[in-house]
Symmetry: C2
Subunit: 150 residues, 2 copies
DNA sequence: TTAAGTGCAAATTATTTGCAGTAAG
DNA sequence: CTTACTGCAAATAATTTGCACTTAA
């Protein structure tokens, strides 16, 4: 089956995953359409956090035999971000990454493969941060650790 | 004149600025063409560091009465980065920013205006950083402080 | 003289949007 | 029913590229 092909995005669309996906949508008041439930199940169906691009999620959903258009994947990811279910992360310039973990945390960016993963936030210690200039406040502090293969 | 219009990108193309620009190119072994010297003078002609996008630099150079095509601005910025004269910074997703300060330092990103400025690095204190996973080494640590107007 | 640089215009890539059809509440 | 969602195809936006022309060395 597609299980082996799918190491990076494996949550099967089991009943449990679908149920979790629907619940996740419900917390944000989003309509549980077939497409959204499928995407949600892939994203958080196994309880793990996940980093995807529109394209990678599109491939995943197809691997699972669901018909969802690429435009809908884009629109859905945008809807999830607006609803606060996900966060958009900018590291690459050419494409957008989306993270199901909405807490402020550092990332590893693997420059060779263009992969984004979580960095252990316990191992990051920022003891002082520049003050926001007058009239501004800090919205977020993005920390990206760029990695190159040794 | 254009001086007032040009608060963000003011280095006049004085002899001194042009000379500095040429010297800068020379340090990287880049051919001092008319276009490159003009762009270099705008970028580092007054000794200040600068954050530009291809588009903003294109507008600046035109304000100074120089004929340089947008494609050449793109190609030149890429050449400057490859030569190590500048650094590319990814914060926006839609466009690339280029910084004449090649030292690792934090940035403020003004979300409303899409402006990038330096944050005082003395005020940033990172006392611990996640180790690079096996087989990888840290290429850089990018810190972007996103600001919203209060 | 000759390899590198420049400038168009066309191509590419990621993403968004208009609009007619479909489905959730 | 009625309003939001979906899907296609066309539109955008930033950037790159092919190729004939120019210029620095």
């Amino acid at each position: 089956m597609t299980k082996a092909m799918n190491a990076q995005m494996p949550p099967l669309q089991s009943d449990r995953a679908l149920k979790r996906g629907s619940a996740w949508l419900a917390t944000a008041g989003l309509r549980p359409t077939r497409q959204r439930v499928a995407l949600a199940a892939l994203l958080i169906g196994d309880g793990e956090h996940r980093h995807v691009t529109a394209e990678s999620l599109f491939v995943s959903v197809q691997d699972h035999g669901e018909r969802v258009s690429l435009a809908t994947v884009y629109n859905t990811l945008r809807a999830f971000c607006q609803a606060g279910l996900m966060h958009e992360i900018t590291v690459d310039g050419t494409k957008s990454y989306f993270d199901t973990n909405t807490h402020d945390h550092p990332h590893f960016f693997w420059e060779d493969s263009g992969t984004l993963t979580d960095a252990p936030s316990e191992e990051l210690e920022i003891t002082r941060i520049p003050n926001a200039p007058d009239g501004a406040e800090i919205a977020s502090v993005d920390v990206v650790i760029r990695l190159r293969r040794k």
